[in-house]
Subunit: 344 residues, 2 copies
């Protein structure tokens, strides 16, 4: 049994959002061939995608090939659109969530789903989170590592995940027993990285570490003790830098521990206690995953492949399978962790 | 024998640079107590420092306590001033380099030194590098992870370390057999990190990974096969993300391998070959250092403590000493690697 926590899906088509909302910047699919589409943002090419992004039967064929029993579906992060007007962000979220719910309803043994919510308006986000869980039967939501500023629409500051404004989302997730899957997007410093795909290779891991550090040091896990959060890409650069992060907490509590006096190491596996949050397994490297196991334990690592994108695991599950681990640990990562995280 | 690759020093005083150069933004020391000073940037407080930053005898006492035989001295990265006018950057570099050379001359068994060079003008930088090696007896230079843009002085683009404009520095370092120690500064995305010291905890590791990826994918190590480069803080987030970086190289060579067809893994230890570049040991975590050893081998890891700053190792050398390793590996990291890197 293999359940893939980290997979992305889009509808095959949706209305022209630039026209619908009256301003530009939304994603459009250009179906230039039967198998394939170009994702366009405004007039700008963003990414080539194949039909496995939108076609459930094609996905199921590929799951069969890889031996994956079930996928957890979530939108593609470029769709978050946290920069948009709140009402439009809500409208777009509803379309995407209705689509994911439909795919799950059509193939309930193959797919389960995470919604997207308009984080630019935490009350609307909380309401849509509630709709996702109560009406659509989704298991939680996928959110970004931060909420973009957009001075055009009155938000002058980017919010990190420790921002008090976001508490309605956390409290609603707690009440609904919903999982939160945090995926990097709108990567910091991308303007410094014009070549070699570095926003994906350097900035995404930093975004994720920023999100983890913000939630730890901002005391989010203390304030919302039942909140369940998972971070993509094995927690980004956080696991490898825990020594530096923890050392900073100890030598400069005036700055680092100002809002939460619990050491960052207490959020990792220790003294037989499981880690306080979850990560996926997508590290593409057995030694790195070995370090992750030491820090988080298999109980907090969920198999995730980033299917169907090229930066994902080409043969979903192969890395874990290839490792010398107890079968129990593999089972835990392949299915038990995500079952617990998403209450499947 | 323990040689510390990563230590910072400043002169006790220097001229008022804002006045000397006629514009603001340079660092000033405010000696408000005999033991201590405030580093100020313009009128803004930057950091408290103690006399061990500028006083060689105090440093030697603390080296005795920690069992450190020799320190490699380099300036504090905030002094790089790559944003300044080139002639002023050169003038400041010369002052700092003359000071480090003087400290080394006064205590030749205790200290060796790395200069700083005005990277905003690669020809001036190469000339000062030559002066550092030939006239001052330094062993190389410490540089930043990028060269800042400053539109006020005509540089509209930030340069990463793959930029062709920087080749005069690399070729000069090769000719002079000088080591290059790369230290993160002016951290990307810092504007997104107002709290918890996160520019130091999240953005510094990303800066270093950006520098490593830029030099690999830009083919710098191919073009300058004798160039010796070491990266601070155990290579930042690069080692933990090598799986992702290498996977990207394989699945998207059109983007990632456009300028260099050599796989990133070829730059790490493999098939009995040593890694192509060096890192220091400053990870504050035995498991992370264990992963680093697996990727780079002790031959390419040099003990570094970030003395005398609080984010450095509080007892320089303690982490390596505490690890279960062959004595030979410890010796290698404590002294042999830096001897080779800096031709000591």
């Amino acid at each position: 049994m293999k359940i893939d926590l980290h997979t992305h899906i889009l509808p095959r088509e949706w209305p022209d959002l630039d026209s619908k909302y009256g301003y530009g910047g939304f994603v459009r699919l250009d179906h230039h061939k039967p198998c394939c589409a170009r994702m366009m943002v405004g007039g700008r090419f963003f990414r080539n995608i194949n039909e496995n992004v939108w076609e459930p039967t094609r996905r199921i064929e590929e799951m069969e090939e890889a031996g994956v029993s079930m996928q957890v579906l979530s939108t593609v992060p470029v769709m978050f659109s946290y920069w948009a007007k709140p009402a439009d962000g809500l409208d777009l979220s509803r379309q995407l969530n209705d689509h994911i719910a439909e795919v799950v309803r059509d193939h309930p043994t193959r797919f389960t789903g995470l919604g997207t919510i308009p984080m630019q308006d935490p009350d609307l986000a909380a309401a849509e989170l509630e709709r996702c869980i109560k009406e659509l039967g989704l298991r939680g939501v996928e959110i970004g590592t931060h909420v973009d500023a957009n001075p055009d629409f009155g938000r002058v500051e980017t919010l990190n995940l420790d921002d008090a404004a976001l508490r309605p989302v956390w409290s609603t997730a707690e009440e609904l027993d919903a999982g939160i899957f945090v995926h990097p997007w709108d990567m910091l410093g991308s303007e410094r990285m014009p070549k070699y795909w570095l926003p994906w290779l350097v900035a995404m891991p930093a975004e994720t570490s920023l999100a983890i550090c913000s939630m730890i040091f901002g005391g989010v896990f203390e304030r919302f003790p039942k909140l369940r959060v998972a971070f993509a890409h094995g927690g980004g650069s956080f696991p490898f830098t825990i020594g530096r992060v923890d050392h900073a907490f100890r030598v400069r509590p005036d700055v680092v521990a100002a809002e939460n006096s619990v050491s960052p190491r207490q959020y990792l596996a220790h003294n037989g206690m499981p880690a306080r949050f979850y990560v996926d397994s997508l590290l593409h490297d057995a030694d790195a995953l070995g370090l992750l196991l030491k820090l988080f334990g298999a109980e907090r690592i969920a198999f995730g492949s980033d299917y169907p994108f090229s930066l994902g695991e080409t043969q979903p599950g192969k890395l874990i399978e290839s490792m010398k681990l107890h079968e129990k640990e593999k089972e835990q990562m392949f299915s038990e962790t995500v079952r617990e995280f998403l209450r499947l």
